[in-house]
Symmetry: C2
Subunit: 233 residues, 2 copies
């Protein structure tokens, strides 16, 4: 039976979910081409069979796997002959740390920069839901959040420094070849470029820009091929 990946769809065929990009890139790394089924914010009943409401959901024959980290581990364990996502037990353990750093560091810093663009990107039917949940998170209107973009960009800058340092000495976060640690971080930049016409990286941020360029080239330009803004190309 074919592999199926359920992923988030927004307006204009945009696919911004960084969690879904983690799964997409992990599948490509393993040489797997799933059938993609889309789920809008208000269509979570489409993945109710998985026992929860979030995407990505991977279906592999009779197996259903939820949560991007669980999907990566599933692919690593069930497709051991394909290229490794972690390069060993130590790599898996620290990729999980990178996962938490992305979620609670990088993504936390990016979210207020991108939330106003997400509001425009989600389907019109989903906007009320999106505005309500995000304004509850930030404690103010998304218009006020948008007005502070420069402040949030300044706060993002030092968060990126460990990435800059690592990529200043190695082609990829995971070494000479990309692996799951790279997909975790890159998925956030992919989120940005699918919805935001203002690049989150300054022109002089050459190290991160070069890495992002390489990541966009991977797997025959998989991440580059989707509807997105050219600013980050």
């Amino acid at each position: 039976m074919p592999l199926v990946l359920y992923e988030r769809l927004c307006a204009d065929d945009r696919r911004p979910s960084p969690y879904c990009w983690r799964a997409r890139l992990a599948l490509a790394h393993k040489g797997l081409s799933p059938e993609i089924r889309t789920v809008r914010f208000t269509e979570s009943d489409l993945v109710a069979f998985s026992g929860q409401a979030k995407v990505p959901v991977l279906v592999d024959g009779a197996r259903v796997v939820t949560d991007s980290w669980e999907i990566a581990c599933y692919l690593e364990d069930f497709y051991p002959k394909a290229p490794s996502l972690f390069d060993g037990a130590g790599g898996r353990a620290l990729a999980r740390f990178v996962n938490h750093w992305v979620d609670h560091g990088l993504q936390k810093a990016l979210s207020p920069i991108l939330a106003p663009y997400m509001l425009a990107a989600v389907d019109p039917d989903d906007r009320h839901y999106y505005r309500q949940t995000r304004e509850a998170r930030y404690g103010e209107s998304l218009e006020r959040v948008a007005a502070k973009r420069a402040v949030y960009l300044e706060a993002l800058d030092p968060i990126l420094e460990p990435l800059r340092q690592r990529l200043g000495e190695s082609s990829f976060i995971c070494g000479e070849r990309p692996a799951y640690g790279d997909y975790l971080a890159f998925a956030e930049f992919q989120w940005a470029r699918t919805i935001c016409d203002q690049d989150i990286l300054a022109p002089e941020d050459t190290t991160l820009r070069a890495w992002r360029h390489c990541m966009l080239d991977l797997f025959d330009g998989l991440a580059r091929s989707v509807t997105a803004y050219d600013t980050a190309a």
Copy 2:
């Protein structure tokens, strides 16, 4: 020939340098017990033979290795039969990312909290040097930096979140056993406890406290055994 590790010494036999603790713990992980030779801030001529002025410096027979990361890699490569510091190529690559996250995230957030205590901890002869270099970094007197301790502690809190998340699901950052990723992060907490009588972790930060406790127990209480404050025990 025996192994020799040159490490920083401060007043009252205190050994605060996190870079030196990385090396000490990496050596212990490999089952190696180096002779320790101490270097005060103003005694960098003692390591001039290494071609630079910083500690740690490892001397292994005819080999001289500087820089804590280079020391870890040297130990991994030259003592391959001892327990691994990285658990594979992926673990080494991402440990280097963790290294940069510690240097540019965790340590950057900790430094202004600990700098006033370091001023008291360094040898009286070193204080002028220490004050000058740190006040240049922070752009104000260390007394003013000390007065903002609560602000800096509040800024540290979200930086620790990836550690909390990781240690909420695993005994150590590197999995069921500690490895170099743990030593990188723990060395910062060890720095704190060797010089600061105020714990940097709140009583309710139970996950991080439990991990720190385990780290202090390692290698027959190696990190616990040195001159330090009990607050973090």
